[in-house]
């Protein structure tokens, strides 16, 4: 996948080193989708969704899994063909499979972002999200970015013909020490499922949420000019890190079931407010298209 997208001109980046719910949260997507500067990047992103934990028992639902993400701005006219090429590149033969683009409008209330597109089905299985970003952090995307998100476990299972994610080989099955996905992740899925649903200390989570929120706002409240270097340095990325943190803490609290329906909206609104402020800050930076 990396080879394919590199050949198509994407920079191959590394995962972001924080807990995120999806590859979209990586600043290489969220922030870089903003502003007028062209961009083309791809990367793997480990993603955490506490509410999806199934103690390692469900054949393809995990609270920790891997996404492969592509973001190209502006979206090229042949993005669908490029995308289909990537499926062929990993061994999906269209002569035998049924590929479908099924409406799925993407919205991230926590990021203040939305776009139109599809979930892509291969023989009835959702293998990717395909989205034309229309807004991020409350800003209209001009130009529009095309975003592709692949669920790597699902795709790998598909290509390898494996029914249960835990049975998937993770290295060469003939290697001296063969390791399956289950060898590596079954125990952690159990541990995190228990932790996420029943054990995570909610008081601490609530407190950390407040801290991240306060820190994000405090970072952005600093003047643009750095008093030490005298340079204009807007700290959009450090502030956005705090927004990511707040979002993950909210997800944990949600999994713990301690946020009521009405409160839920309020918390989502608070994270969104942070995302918007970070977006506002980013478009004032050079990477965001600002020019002196």
């Amino acid at each position: 996948m990396q080879t394919y997208w590199a050949a198509k001109g994407c920079a191959v980046l590394q995962p972001y080193d924080m807990e995120v719910g999806a590859g979209t949260f990586h600043p290489a997507t969220t922030l870089r989708a903003l502003g007028s500067k062209p961009w083309a990047a791809s990367y793997v992103q480990p993603s955490r969704r506490p509410t999806d934990g199934r103690y390692g028992e469900n054949p393809n639902r995990l609270q920790h899994y891997y996404q492969f993400q592509v973001l190209i701005k502006p979206s090229p006219p042949n993005l669908q063909e490029l995308y289909l090429g990537s499926l062929e590149a990993i061994g999906i033969d269209f002569a035998f499979h049924d590929i479908r683009f099924v409406e799925d409008d993407w919205e991230s209330p926590t990021l203040g972002a939305w776009g139109l597109g599809w979930e892509v089905w291969c023989d009835g299985m959702e293998v990717s999200q395909f989205t034309y970003f229309q807004q991020v952090g409350g800003h209209d995307c001009k130009p529009v970015s095309g975003e592709l998100t692949y669920g790597l476990e699902r795709l790998a299972m598909y290509v390898l013909g494996i029914d249960h994610v835990m049975e998937m080989p993770f290295n060469d099955p003939d290697a001296p020490i063969p390791l399956s996905y289950g060898d590596i992740f079954r125990q952690t899925e159990q541990e995190y499922s228990r932790f996420n649903f029943d054990v995570a200390e909610t008081e601490i989570l609530f407190r950390h949420f407040e801290d991240a929120e306060a820190e994000c706002e405090a970072i952005l409240a600093h003047p643009q000019e750095d008093p030490k270097t005298g340079r204009r340095i807007i700290m959009a990325h450090p502030a956005y890190d705090q927004c990511i943190k707040a979002s993950h803490l909210f997800n944990l609290l949600d999994a713990r079931g301690v946020i009521s329906v009405t409160e839920r909206q309020a918390y989502i609104g608070r994270v969104r407010a942070l995302a918007k402020k970070c977006a506002d800050a980013f478009v004032e930076t050079e990477a965001g298209g600002w020019q002196a």
């Binding site: 639902r61 502006p74 006219p77 499979h97």
Partner: protein
Amino acid sequence: MPDLLIELFSEEIPARMQARAREDLQKRVTDGLVEAGLTYAAARAFSTPRRLVLALEGLSERSPTLLEERKGPRVDAPEKALEGFLRATGLTREQLGVRDDKKGQIYYAEIVKEGRPAAEIVGEVLEDVIRTFPWPKSMRWGAGSLRWVRPLHSILCLLSREDGAEVVPMVVDGIHAGDTTSGHRFMAPDAIRVTGFEDYAAKLKRAHVLIDPEERADHIWHDATNAAFAQGLEVVEDKGLLAEVAGLVEWPVVLMGAIGEDFLDLPPEVLQTSMKEHQKFFSVRDPKSGRIVKFVTVANRETADHGATILAGNQKVLSARLSDAKFFWENDLRVAKSGMALWLQKLDSVTFHNQLGTQAQRIERIVKLSRAIAPLVGADPDAAAEAAEVAKADLASEMVYEFPELQGIMGRYYARAAGLAPEIAEAAEMHYKPLGPSDALPAHPVSIAVSLADKLDTLAGFWAIDEKPTGSKDPFALRRAALGIIRTVLGNDLRIGLERLINTQLLEHAIALNLDSAEEQEAYFVQHLVDDIAHHGVFGAAFRAVTDRLDGEMAKPFRIEEGTWLAHLRETLPGKSHDLLGFFHDRLKVYLRDEGLRHDVIDACLAMKGADDLTLLVKRARALSEVLATEDGGNLVQGFKRANNILIQAEEKDGVEYRFGADAKYAEDATETALFAALDAADAVIAPAMEAEDFAAAMSAMAALRGPIDAFFDAVQVNTDNPVVRRNRLNLLHRIRETCMQVADLTRVEG
């Protein structure tokens, strides 16, 4: 006369938007062409996931040339005015004519509007239609600014005549119209050049694209039912799903597969919902067992292995989905078997509505009201209360969280798993009914009690906080709730005084809304008030009774100070109650109108006592309506109104009421005597009929008075000179009124 073919080729259009888009494309293009002066013989629109197609037959070659006349300034007007007119018309002074007008001589111009070729008009209209197309959601892409449902790739726009086809020259945002399209994305992706609609449809069919959604749907249904039939099974019909699936494929290929053994024990509703919602599969049922045993999926292509790989993949996904459903089902069953306490506890923290409290508080109100309604509908109060207690427990279950449309259905399974009585389990499902105007009604008394209580509580709650439906806005489906109550009451022949229940529940809500801030004395007062409404029925009387009683009980005189919430309650509750009852009556009128009952007939019955007893009300209305349809009935109303009008005029003139003492012995005319006798005879029939609520018998006895009344008016002058005879006759008219107003207020009947 050329034919026009338009194809807008884009990335995949959501299935749910295609039908509307076909209509919009056809309407907007044809409207635009007609407005510009073109005519056409026939129009048809088609769609696939990747294209919107419009085909017009017999389009005119040109728009007609029109001669338009414009009035200019007067001949003696200042030079400036003339110059302006020349500029506006683009003519010279020599080209103007002069004629006489009311104001004197004026210039006028004849402007020829040349007809234009169809291609020019089509290009303009199509560009405008594309730029302003009413997609429910549209988007931009790349660096462009055009909006379409998904990126628009090409436009085919052809005018074809017998001697060949002409591409309509047009450009939208860099997309030039042409005469080519593409076939199926995978099976025949090459470009195809076409010359007209028939050529287009035929070539696309060869390129594995069926452009007609109906043809695709028919094909799917035909193949699916055949495949099922061959194995002695049947496909569960679902028109919405069929239309959606037909909108997802250009070349439908039906495949049938089995559901894993592990999942066959899941409730059929769960299998069906999960397969439909997540995978867009049809369910296939074994008619002998009633169980869902297979599924049908529709692929978008043929393959060398006849779909084996595709089917295997779909089966695998289904297993994963169903193992999720099974996970929810098994978790839920554990909670259910332990008595559902966990769910009820959870509902304590789930908000129903931010002013109307949590689901748990709502359940508490419904339990109390169910208990009160139970005796009125023949249910055991304890059973009704128990049923209401658990009827909404499934809202906290995992399955209903995943599939909200299974609420109630899961409740029934879980109540059974909890070991509750069958009628309690039934109420968990049936208390939501009826959901639509043709949905089934709750039938068991326990279900009826909970269903009425649930809906009444919702209505009273939203009335209490002034969130009534307005115009087309009814976010809480209150009209549906009221109609549900009406249908349940009428359909089960229930005799319930709604007003008392409305009063009680409005009061319960008022208490819930204010109890936090209420003082001890106020809380004490309203508790008594709830009990008293049950006795008095009417809010005002109960309020006075409680005030008087507490005044006697308490050491200090009991006063309700102005400005307190109790004073506010005293002033506003009767109005709200009246308003809510009126809402029921309005819904009832709409409902009965569909049955053919006139609104004035219903109004005539609404004016009678006990109009909050809907069954009684409708019995009256039906009897009245039937009698009005007869000749005697229609004429009776005339005779009655004549009698009534004479009486009213006389009473106004004389300043007295003629109520009593009509006596046959003062009768002068034979018709008068006969009328007395007829009234006596009618009363003898009507009294027992009214007692038995046999309104038809009562009404027909009244209708029998029509002859004697008409004869009386023909023969006799009521306002005669003899005061004794006149008074007697007026009193006789009053007897007519008394007798005829027992079933309905005939003064309100029109005609």
